[in-house]
Symmetry: C2
Subunit: 279 residues, 2 copies
Amino acid sequence: MVSPKTRYLVFFQYSGTKYSGVMETSADQSGLGVQNYLEKAAQNLKPVVPIKFNISSRTDSGVHALCNSAHLDIQRAPGKAAFQERQLIRSLNHYLRPEPIRILSAHRVTNDFHARFSALSRTYIYRLLVGCTHHSEVPVFERDLCWAPAGGYLNVPAMQDAARFLLGTHDFSTFRSLNSETPFQSPVRTILQADIQPSSGLLSHHYEYRGLEFWELKFKSRSFLYRQVRRMVGALVAVGQGKLTPHHIKELLEMKDARAFPPYAMAPPSGLFLESVEY
Amino acid sequence: MVSPKTRYLVFFQYSGTKYSGVMETSADQSGLGVQNYLEKAAQNLKPVVPIKFNISSRTDSGVHALCNSAHLDIQRAPGKAAFQERQLIRSLNHYLRPEPIRILSAHRVTNDFHARFSALSRTYIYRLLVGCTHHSEVPVFERDLCWAPAGGYLNVPAMQDAARFLLGTHDFSTFRSLNSETPFQSPVRTILQADIQPSSGLLSHHYEYRGLEFWELKFKSRSFLYRQVRRMVGALVAVGQGKLTPHHIKELLEMKDARAFPPYAMAPPSGLFLESVEY
C-alpha cells in the first residue's frame, strides 16, 4: 500500500553569511547550502521517501533572505496522518535550531503547485550604510548585513532619477553576470518597482551622532537575471558617488552587453536580502 | 634611557555573544574575554612593555557594547614618537579585524586619567522584542541581540509606572546578584534615567505585518551593581506580563535582600548593550 504524498509551501528566513548560497551543494563542494540544512532537518520527520525542497528563488553565497519559499512533498508511513502546518513548522525549526535558518510558515497546497513557477514576483531589498570613511567604521552588529560604499555620502536624488530608467520592460543584458544558463534565458525583464528609501539599522538611532545613515533599495520583478540586483545596485551607487550620471544607466541598458558594465561596480552580496516571494 | 609612556582613552564596540565577557581571562578558563583580543592586537604595536587595557565597565558573557572604554599606556622604543590617535585606531582595528570588536575612537589623556574611576556615568540599553509566541519566531538577524519574553504583548504603561520607582537613590540589594565583591560594595546606587521607548530592529519595518515590536529600556547611573540592569529589566518585564504590579517593584526595593528577587525574573544577557560611558 502506498501512502499519499502531501505537498506544502513553506516560507523561510536565513542569514546567508556562512552558506554557499541557498541551493544544495554536493558533498565534494566546499560550503554547504541552506537547502542542505533544510533537507537534513526534514529527514527527522521520518518520511517514506527523502524530502526534497524545491526552492523558489536562488540566492548567492552571502545573500540573505527575510523570506524565501520552497515546496516539498511529504510521504509518511501507511496509516500516518499528514502533518499539520503548525506541527511541520515547529518540528523543522526544532531541528534547524543551531542554524540561522528558520521556517516562517507552512501551507498545504495542491500537487500541481510549484514554488518556483507559481510565483508571481520576487522583491529584493539592498541595505546601504552611508557615512563611513573606512570599512572598520561599520558597526560590528551590521557586519555582513549591509554595504558601506567607500567615499562618504551619496547623491540620493541622482540615484532616484537613475532608478527610473530601470523601471519597466528592458533587455537587461548589461546588468547580468554570465553563467551556464545565459544562452537559454531571455535577458528581458520587467522591473515593477525600483525605490530608494531611508531605512533603519539595529540601534541605528545610536549611530546618528556619527553621521551614519541607512538606505534601502527595493526591486520587484517577476524574476531577475543572474546577479541583476547586485549590478543594478552597484550602478546606482556609482551614480550616487558621481562616477556615473543618471543618463549613463539608460546608455548601459541600451548597450545590451554584460561586458559594458563597469567592472568595479557590482555590489557585494552582504547587503542583499530576498524580502518576499509573491503568489 | 627610558622612553616616556603615553596614556590613551579608547572607546570600543563589540558583540559579546562569543566572549566570556569583556574582562581578560587566564589561559586555563574556557572562553576568552574581549580584553584578551584587545591586548593581543596591541602587542602588534611593538611596545617596550606589554600593553594593558584598564576597562571602565565590566560586561558579562553574552552582553554587548555599543561603546565601552578603557585606558592604556604605550611605551615605545627610545626615539620613537608617540602614536597619533588616528594611527592607533587604524592599527588596532587592523589586527582586530576578524573579531566583532572595533575601536571607535582614541584620545590622549593625562597620566592620572583612569577609565574606570574618572567615568561620571554609564548608560545601558536593553532591547526587547515583543509579539513572539515562541523563541523560534525571533528573526535570525536579531538572535543574540534581543530578548523575546514568552507570553505575547507587554503592558508598557505599567512598566513605565514601575520604572519610576527605580529612579533616584535607593538601596538596590534586591536587584543585585551576589559575587565576591558583594561584601565590599555599597548597595546604594542612584538611577538617573529609567526610560522605556519604542525602538527599531534590523529591517524591523519588514516585521510589522507579523506584529513584532521592538522596545528599548534605558538606564543611566554613575555605576551599577552586579547584574543590576538585567534584574531591573526582568522585574519590569514581569510587570509588563502582569506577574507583578508596579507597586511590587517598590516593595522589592524595600526588602533590600537579593534572595527576595523572583528567581525566574532575571533577563538574559543577549538583550543588554552598554551604550556609553560618560566622562
